[in-house]
Assembly symmetry: C3
Homo-oligomer: 344 residues x 3
């Protein structure tokens, strides 16, 4: 892919300055651009100005007002957003050719939309339905009656269990499991556990992305739901009957237990744990490693295990190393008070 | 599946009241039953009585003495247990037809029992032995000399490494790895790590269930053992030479390091960590996110990292937010004592 | 495999004592050796002397000076290291025969080195390059343009995403994912997240081993790097643009967020979490479950969440259970001071 600065500026809808004929061939980080290669860069904020001064890039995306004329400049209110779009233009995701690989096993009752690609070794079960333009990479397992929307990407070793539903433009990275049985048992009189059949399903809405080896369990009854636009990192686990709202971030190794709810626009950082039957409001931020212990109202920012308001948590840990000396101080003080009392 | 209330009551061995001819077609949650569909519900406890009053179900399982006659009622001492059994009757797990899919690669020296189903793309190694009635879903990898008992279910992308043994009725969800090498190295004189060959194996006893993408490592020497009836959630990891007793629950993302032992009927909640060479007794409860730091006697209930008796842990965290003020209070008190001492 | 004590001693370069003609057939733990089977054992330290006295082994590896003549003895400065080498001799890893299984799908443009084994159902993409002697177990997915060095072992259900690079003698256990997209989004004006294309790659250097179901994400731009000799346990996740130095240990379920760096010879214990853009020095030890909160200088030993110097952390937790009584003590003391002040 080769584009002049002017051509790129037109595609991005950005004004440009300097030599519009300069040829660009790709994107790079400010400090990793290679002279003569045609790299496009962007500057995320004023503190990177020294890197900009030194960059070997062929052109830069800068915010309005950032004076610079050594190389051609594209102007954008949000330079990173423009850079992301440029990245998509220069480095489009490679898409396998449509069609079903001869080693794939597709049930005769499955329906494949237009332009679907089914890779080598894939297995598509009875009554499955794959939407137009969806890419199923090799060695994906799709159980019977699964519904996958249009323009999804399923990477190798994804498992979609019986009857689960994905919306459109869903991206599942390698090893993701959607619809494994929820973890539900009854303790019998003899101390043995009796499995509670997990006969519900999972619904993943549009534009959800799920990272490698994460798991979303099917509901016991009803549905586990991940609403549109939510982004889930690697090795996250979501239990049966959970509901995750729109545009939520669940960072790596977070875990959410049965029937809990997370409101929209909330962020659960890495290794956060949420027990069962908890309600987390909207626009909540939960710091890394937090162990949630009860419901969290909308707009909260919490940390710690048990979780505390982040300000309380910070104040506590700023003091914690003083506890040892405090105990000694109180002991001494008691001795002094005793001394005073004796004299009294 | 359609059953009258009377037919179902007979299969469950429950007395029933009201119109025994009412037709049932499935199960539902109290508040999700649909009028006219023939849903069976149960009431878990008195607090759900308002949901019972409003339910659109066709029949309900209730404990003895719970007066209700708007719809037919089945009586059971443990309504949820009866409901679980009814669920199994109305929604039996779909079982693939027996036989070996033509795209599976089964070694000529492998032995398959009666009624075994081996799905598309599966690989079964030399000398493997699969018990009667076991279902091997597509894309499962069974290494040489593995033994799988009767009536197991192995979901897609399960890996059973060389020589591991599963008992009967074991359920492994998608992506489970049994028998990966234990994590064992020696530091050589040059600072590099030398791999300790992991030549032991894994034994999983009857009625164990393991959730999606969990891993159980093979022993360095000897066996890693999971005893009968233990239930393991998603993304749990069990290291080499660990022994887990009978009827243990290991909730999601728990991790147990090398050579540790967990006694029977214990419960390790989500994201619990157990270091190596630890002994955890029987009937122990470990709260979510606990970082175990030493042996735990039978019957304990612990929480925190480092772990504490749960009462100590609760008392501590109830006080913790007061530490900041306490430090200020002690400072003020010291000033007042100094004042008194001066006057003295 | 049968070797006399003398033959084994020669292969290990160890002196031996006692009957050099004694036949050995394998290795065992001191307390698990079986009489008459020809087991070789070693003693890790003086506290195991009672087990040595009682062992049913045919021969033992002991350090110089450890008097024992009931069975033949091999002498080694580091008995465990000699035992590890003996284990490798008696129990060499089974290696599948070279060649490509007929059910594998190998792109015509892929290059396979000499003696490569590609198992059943594997998929090798366009332009992939697999080094001499590498074993690819069944059902591995290798995307286009991947480079794998010589003598690697890739276990079933490994995914190597487009363009990633592995050095020599790399071992990846089942379900490992190398090169999934990094977790990077921009928040658009409408509150929705825009995916930042992840167009970088992953480089795994020589002698790295990665445990089951762990994940290493590709860089947004540039490379995620794991340097030579680093050993990674199960269910670990490493985010985009991370750099892990040489001979690092990352124990099970550790997680490292974007762009962080870990210096060589450091050890991150189980369930440790490292946020993004953190620098961890060389020879750092991070205790299990630690939540790192800022950069850690070389040579540190830290614990807790937020992390503290391990001595501070231990002192704090030794005192923590006293906080409840301390608060009461301070209250009483204040009353006594008030009393004194009144009298004053």
């Amino acid at each position: 892919m080769r584009l002049t600065v002017k051509e790129l500026a037109e595609r991005l809808g950005c004004p440009c300055e300097g030599d519009g004929g300069t040829v660009l061939t790709g994107v790079a980080a400010l400090d990793k651009a290679v002279a003569g290669r045609g790299d496009l860069v962007f500057m995320a904020g004023p503190k990177f100005r020294p890197l900009l001064e030194a960059t070997a890039a062929a052109a830069a995306i800068l915010p309005p007002g950032e004076a610079f004329d050594r190389i051609p400049v594209l102007r954008a209110e949000n330079p990173q957003l423009a850079f992301v779009r440029a990245t998509g233009i220069f480095h489009p995701a490679a898409k396998p050719a449509p069609g079903v690989h001869p080693t794939a096993s597709v049930a005769p009752t499955a329906r494949l939309g237009k332009g679907v690609s089914v890779g080598a070794g894939c297995v598509v079960g009875d009554g499955a339905d794959i939407g137009d333009g969806t890419v199923v990479h090799p060695l994906v397992s799709i159980y019977p009656r699964v519904k996958v929307g249009a323009d999804c990407v399923l990477h190798s070793h994804v498992s979609l269990r019986e009857g689960v539903t994905l919306g459109e433009r869903v991206i599942l990275h390698n090893g993701v499991v959607i619809g494994g049985d929820g973890y539900g048992y009854l303790k019998g009189g003899d101390g043995r556990y009796v499995k509670i059949p997990q006969i519900g399903t999972v619904v993943i809405e549009d534009d959800v992305e799920i990272g490698a080896n994460s798991t979303v369990d099917r509901a016991a009854l009803g549905e586990t739901v991940i609403r549109r636009g939510t982004k889930i990192d690697n090795l996250v686990t979501i239990a049966h009957n959970v509901e995750i709202g729109e545009n939520v971030l669940l960072v790596a190794q977070a875990g959410i237990a049965g029937s809990s709810k997370v409101g929209r626009n909330s962020i659960l950082s890495g290794q956060v744990g949420v027990p069962d039957h908890i309600e987390i409001g909207e626009n909540v931020v939960i710091a890394a490693k937090t162990g949630v212990t009860n419901d969290i109202p909308s707009g909260s920012f919490v940390s710690g295990s048990p979780h505390l308001d982040v300000r309380v948590w910070r104040k506590f840990w700023a003091c914690a190393p003083q506890l040892y000396d405090l105990i000694k101080d109180v002991k001494k003080l008691r001795a002094r008070v005793e001394e005073l009392e004796k004299k009294d």
